[in-house]
Amino acid sequence: MNKPLRRIAIFCGLLVLALLVRDNWLQYVQADSLRTDPKNRRVLIARYSTPRGDIIVDGNPITGSQKTSTDSLNDFAYKRTYKDGAMWAPVTGYASQAFGASQLESIEDGILTGTDDRLFFRNTLNMLTGKQQQGGNVVTTLNAGAQKAAYDGLQKVGGKGAAVALNPQTGAILALASYPSYDPSTFAGNSTSTDSKAWTKLQKSSDPDDPMLNRALRDTYPPGSTFKVVTAAAALENGLYNGADQPTNSPLPYILPDSRTELKNEGDIPCKNAPMRVALQYSCNTVFGKIGADLGKDKMLEEAKKFGFDSEQFTPVRSVTSNFPETMNRPSTALSSIGQFETAATPLQMAMVASAVANDGKLMKPYMVDKLQAPSLDVITQTQPQQLSQPLSSKNAQVLQSMMETVVTDGTGKNAQIPGVTVGGKTGTAQHGLNNSGKPYAWFISYAKLKDGSSPVAVAVVVEDSEANRGDISGGGLAAPIAKNVMEAVINSKK
């Protein structure tokens, strides 16, 4: 019987060998793909096992991490907390155990959780010394005072709206507010009783106001009369008129080209043959409609694109594309040139328009992340300001500045005046919806200029005018005071 016994011994050895081979396949060859499989809960457990790095504004964290209660079923150790979550939500996005992360929290997730490749060396060192992996910090360019002014102003008006403030010289985002907003800490955990309920309540399906929409970056509005700044820039750049004060030879009433429709002004304002300065001061639809029609679609489109229309911006949080129509007939071109028809812009886009004018024609790339810090606070990367384009020459920019300053000193934007500071601006009101049935949006874009000629801030504010008050007055009445407070906050923080 010994011969078959020896064979059985070999057979048993082969069984063990098969298991050994399988185990090597599983724990060596396939180990990495199994370990990092996103459905493997260990990936999430590791992610929430250490405090998340912070997002920092003006040297203070606006986020935090909280040890979660270690009850039986929660295997995530830390959850995100937010200070003034609703105010900062458009900047931070959210980081939730149950619902993942969005916007800045998602884009810089690697740094915040500490898994980024740029932290690899430190992590390896930590592993060897037995220290826990730590997350780094994201230092933003935002200005706490300006953000508070923007959010408080929007909250006071109470309609849907957004405000963006930029540093024209660098493109740094100083304020980025959206209203109504949400507090991301309400659903940062993974409890089905509280977090899931809070999340469901914030969805558009249960709240028609869509509080989780980042209106500053992710929603477009017809820019209305604020777009006349772009049209004026196009006129100056293309040499249509010689300066701001040359009469424009525009008729009143003005019939849209190739049609019998009359383009009307709001109220009885001196628009006949008005020079551009006066036309901007009173916000003449007729004058800028004619300028757009005279320049033609291609030249208008070229100028709009230079200001950033028709492309997404990455701040690094993505903003949606602002639209200036690429195909349209002459009457539509005239309408588009006064910010109607299909023209639509994000608040960020209109802030970029104001900032380019304020920065003597140079458009800087907007950004909100100043630098990324390692857990040791060493700087990993520092964002360098970058010029995006030059929509208008320095000389023309100064002409346009003087026109916008007239709007604030003598025109529709008087509410934005700041003593001792030169302010240039433009109001706007945009109807929308079928037969203009929607509540109109009140716009105000502006910049402030200090005595030394430097321009520290450019702002765009849009709010839904619940009074449904037509005319430029609402832009000046509702949006301009918010813009003024934001600009003041920035100027005061410089002192």
């Binding site: 063990v16 060596y28 199994l34 459905k39 039986s72 079923l73």
Partner: protein
């Protein structure tokens, strides 16, 4: 010159079994390691989870040491020539199993679903019962050949044990497999005991019938075909396995018993044709049953595509389980060296994390290195068992030893292969490692029987009785 001397020396040493060392001191030395290693592992778990040496360390160490000591003394007294490796290896596996069961007891998730919490003390109690049975086997089974007398009683006993889970009111249906019975507050897996009893029956039966089975055959295409009437026993065992598969829906037990029988039949008859028949019949049986038994089909599906099974389970489709995928993730997350004891997340396997799936915790926390070590320990135990069969002098002992070792090997393969996704999952547990009284107790008895056979095999032959005729014999020279 010197080489010829060596050859001579070597030659004489293989002939004489007189003076074979008992190796009891080797066993004792190995046992020290087998106790100390789990004690360190236990301390390691406590340090990893609570950052302090667990308070139960001393009692755990003393408990395991005491059981090992009792086992060793029993062997020293009642089976002094037994194999020196089996007891330490079993002790090591049992000790490591206890550590990991205790480690899973600390998981709040498993506590909340009543899969852990107080299992380690229970397992220690089962281990004590197992060692008691082990000692009882050594004390009362003076000679394994006694078992030969109970061949047919064993057959009846095995059938009863196998059928018990089907008795209404006694059987338990645990996640589809009906291999449990309920006695008071205990649940027992009779299959674990049936394994040993069946091995006794097969060994007794085959010892008697082997000549008939081996010799009366016709040669056809290089194979010796058995006579039709000799096919009877294999058909009966085959039918029994199929019945287990159909009525208890347990692929593992079914495969184990049939595999054990084929192995023993092959050893008894030395006819390869039986292996061929065995493989054919198990293939026909498995495919046949799988064609109409949804539980078996589902196990195969889960094996072929564990991710799909996971997704279905997550979607709440009834009858699906995410365990297979969770086990694979546990192994993968462990990688080469593992996370370290107490630092993994194998509680995600939830149900049966400390029994059927305990190997996944080892995989995650001790890594590839740990699993390879454990598989090699099992391999070593099996080979020591087969070595015992080789050394045994009587055919019954040979068959019993190879049957028990083969069943042990098949069980390890079926369970570890199932958990690692090599073959479909079955409802059996890793011998000694997994939580469960039946398994631990039955396997200690199994080791006891192997030690008894090995003691008989290695015991020096009694010196020949003085022959009264010796002096009377005259040498007649031509």
């Amino acid at each position: 010159m010197s080489s010829s001397t060596n050859t001579t020396t070597h030659h004489t040493s293989t002939i004489g079994s007189i003076g074979t060392p008992s190796r009891r001191n080797t066993e004792l030395a190995l046992l020290v390691f087998a106790v100390v290693i789990p004690v360190f592992a236990y301390a390691n778990v406590g340090l990893a989870i609570d950052s302090k040496v667990p308070p139960g360390l001393l009692s755990y160490g003393l408990g395991l040491g005491l059981l090992a000591g009792v086992g060793h003394l029993a062997v020293r007294k009642f089976a002094p020539y037994a194999d020196p490796l089996l007891l330490p290896l079993a002790t090591l596996l049992n000790g490591l199993g206890l550590v990991v069961i205790w480690r899973l007891d600390q998981s709040k998730l498993l506590q909340s679903i009543k899969q852990a919490g107080d299992k380690a003390p229970n397992q220690l109690m089962y281990t004590a019962m197992g060692v008691a049975l082990f000692v009882a086997v050594l004390v009362f089974l003076k000679d394994h050949r006694v078992l030969q007398r109970y061949t047919y009683i064993s057959m009846v006993g095995a059938l009863v044990l196998l059928l018990l889970p089907l008795v209404p009111g006694l059987g338990l249906n645990v996640y589809g497999a009906k291999i449990w019975i309920h006695v008071g507050s205990f649940s027992i897996q009779p299959g674990e005991f049936a394994k040993i009893v069946l091995a006794v029956f097969f060994a007794g039966y085959l010892m008697v019938k082997r000549d008939a089975l081996a010799l009366a055959s016709r040669r056809f295409m290089g194979l010796y075909l058995p006579r039709g009437r000799d096919l009877g026993p294999i058909l009966v065992v085959w039918a029994m396995s199929i019945l287990i598969l159909v009525f208890e829906t347990d692929l593992g037990t079914s495969l184990l018993f049939f595999g054990m029988f084929v192995v023993m039949l092959y050893v008894a008859t030395e006819r390869t044709s039986w292996i061929v028949f065995g493989l054919l019949m198990s293939a026909v049986g498995a495919v046949g049953v799988a064609s109409f038994e949804p539980h078996v089909q589902q196990r195969v599906q889960a094996w072929l595509d564990p991710m799909k099974e996971y997704t279905l389970s997550r979607q709440g489709v009834a009858g699906h389980s995410e365990q297979a995928m969770q086990a694979l993730w546990a192994f993968g997350s462990g990688g080469t060296l593992g996370t370290g004891l107490g630092q993994g997340h194998s509680e995600l396997i939830r149900f049966a994390a400390n029994s059927d799936f305990i190997l996944a915790t080892f995989g995650e926390e001790l890594g590839l290195a740990g699993i390879m070590a454990i598989l090699l320990i099992y391999g070593l135990m099996v080979e020591r068992g087969v070595r015992t069969a080789l050394a045994a002098r009587d055919p019954f002992g040979k068959l019993l030893a190879v049957g028990l070792s083969g069943a042990f090997a098949l069980q390890v393969f079926v369970v570890a292969g199932g958990v690692m996704g090599l073959i479909p999952l079955t409802g059996m547990t890793m011998p000694f490692l997994a939580y469960g009284g039946s398994s631990v107790i039955a396997n200690w008895a199994l080791v006891g029987i192997l030690l008894r056979i090995s003691d008989t095999a290695r015991r020096p032959a009694p010196s020949p009785a003085p022959n009264p005729d010796a002096e009377m014999t005259q040498v007649v020279r031509p």
